[in-house]
């Protein structure tokens, strides 16, 4: 597929793409919450073009860490299923899966989207842990954005099950309350091929990718997390451009989220 990569690079120079989109144009985005009927406390299937990511929440009761007895925990994990791409190997999370999980996690954690004190049941003894598990089913590029969006949609539609003090277990059939979100960080990624910046890359385009910059922003516009990926450098101007152009994508993501899981 070297041929395709060369073509993609040449086209990018002229501001063109294989699928005919403009450089800033996103593919169709679909969000379906409550995709999992019974076994998950919040879930969302997100499709960006042919990329398909399923996020499911699992809520467990655990002991808090010693240094923060009044706070619950969030754990983010991502699995790249072998079915998602021809060159994925089955097995435990590879480097890509670990980076994906950590970048998604950082956006949520640093924005303090979830009030960890709100997850405390009995100080020093019992707290809720919110597991955010992403299952990548089909990878046609822009995984970080798709996974972050799915995570936010799952959290927005998610709930904490009731805690039964007598049995010291969760009563999963009974909802205690919604997961309260203090703010809603949105994570989007700008990509660079040659000297051209572009958005929402396909799997094919990502084989020709030089660099990417992921930006997580809160509603007030402040940036809470960033991650540069791939092998080539950015100039400061390119990074500024991505941070600026990110706003339009973030706004679009917010509108899609509102439409699917509005207040």
């Amino acid at each position: 597929m070297k041929l395709n990569q060369d073509t993609i690079r040449e086209m990018a120079e002229d501001g063109q793409r294989l699928d005919g989109r403009d450089l800033k144009e996103m593919r169709d985005i679909k969000v379906e919450t409550d995709y999992i009927n019974e076994t998950s406390e919040g879930s969302a299937l997100v499709e960006i073009g042919d990329t398909k990511v399923l996020v499911g929440l699992s809520i467990e009761i655990e002991e808090p860490y010693d240094d923060r007895p009044g706070k619950g925990t969030i754990v983010t994990n991502a699995e790249l299923a072998p079915m998602a791409r021809r060159d994925y190997e089955s097995g435990p999370p590879q480097e890509d899966g670990v980076e994906l999980a950590r970048v998604v996690d950082r956006g949520i954690r640093e924005a303090e989207a979830i009030d960890l004190e709100d997850l405390c049941m009995v100080e020093g003894e019992k707290v809720y842990t919110v597991f955010i598990d992403a299952h990548v089913l089909n990878d046609d590029g822009n995984l970080i954005d798709a996974t972050s969006l799915a995570a936010m949609a799952a959290l927005k539609s998610g709930y904490l099950p009731a805690y039964d003090e007598e049995t010291e277990t969760l009563n999963r059939d009974e909802k205690w309350k919604d997961i309260e979100l203090q703010c809603e960080p949105i994570t989007v990624t700008g990509h660079k091929i040659g000297d051209t910046l572009l958005w929402d890359t396909t799997g094919e385009e990502e084989k020709a990718l030089d660099a990417r910059l992921t930006v997580s922003k809160k509603k007030d516009g402040n940036i809470v997390a960033m991650q540069k990926g791939e092998t080539q450098p950015f100039t400061a101007d390119e990074m500024s451009q991505i941070m600026t152009e990110a706003d339009e994508k973030i706004q679009k993501f917010r509108e899609i989220l509102e439409a699917e899981v509005g207040e």
Binding site: Y35, G56, E79
Partner: protein
């Protein structure tokens, strides 16, 4: 099997099961072919609240070379449950149970595939359980067979699979999670369905497992019940394939 078994009302006054089904009813089942773009073939099968996505890559070059067979294809099979597919979160990645199921699922499908047509090649089959309520391995096999057909891999017959079990000494088809966990037994069965001109001409059983405490007669009843279920599933598989190819041709029929 368990003490709680006797306490459960397995059938209501009308003989309906805990989820309202008759003894020989499958759960509500949906099948969709070609749900993924990266894999060569794919399918999703939903049986009640059990939902499995299956994919096929290949036939393709097999590495490392020493795994190749000179006269036939080699199948690699993965069965995996997503962490959120069960009530209490499951650690990511296949555990020992998942590896065994991958093995028996491979044995359930392999006899149907015309392996000798693809010497030295590899066929990768993978199943991801995204939600489970009993019967994940049989639902996975039914989905994987559709994915194989979607990938255009020649088969002697379509494989379909379901489980029968016994609750309150009564054989029931397609046991759900509760009937599986708390009933007397669970017998997953897979069939290769042979058809000629729409006529059912026979079948071969390629998967049998059992755990429980049953008489031989009960086991035989369960196998017959499961075979009936497999035939119903096979009809739905044919419909799902037709649905896809109708769409491809852009016509109604």
């Amino acid at each position: 099997m368990t003490s709680s078994d006797e306490d459960i009302e397995w059938f209501d006054d009308e003989g309906k099961r805990v989820d309202g089904r008759e003894k020989d009813d499958l759960r509500e089942t949906e099948m969709e072919v070609d749900v993924l773009t990266e894999a060569d073939g794919s399918a999703m099968v939903e049986v009640g609240n059990t939902r499995v996505i299956a994919s096929v890559f290949g036939p393709q070059e097999l590495h490392p070379k020493h795994l190749q067979e000179s006269d036939r294809a080699v199948i690699k099979m993965r069965y995996n449950m997503a962490p959120f597919s069960v009530d209490d979160r499951m650690s990511p990645g296949p555990n020992r149970r998942a590896k065994e199921i991958g093995l028996v699922a491979k044995k359930a499908l392999e006899p149907a595939i015309e392996m000798e047509k693809f010497p030295t090649a590899g066929i990768d089959i993978s199943m991801e359980v995204v939600e489970s309520d009993g019967g994940t391995r049989v639902t996975g096999i039914t989905a994987a067979a559709l994915a194989l057909a979607d990938a255009g891999i020649p088969m002697k017959g379509m494989v379909s699979a379901t489980a029968a079990g016994v609750v309150d000494e009564t054989p029931v088809l397609d046991v759900n999670g509760k009937e599986d966990k708390e009933g007397n037994a669970d017998i997953p069965i897979a069939l290769i369905n042979y058809d000629e001109d729409g006529e059912h001409t026979g079948e071969e059983i390629t998967l049998v497992q059992m755990d429980g405490d049953l008489t031989q007669e009960q086991v035989e009843d369960c196998i017959e019940l499961a075979k009936d279920g497999c035939r119903q599933l096979h009809e739905m598989q044919q419909d799902a394939m037709l649905e896809k190819y109708r769409q491809l041709r852009g016509g109604d029929e």
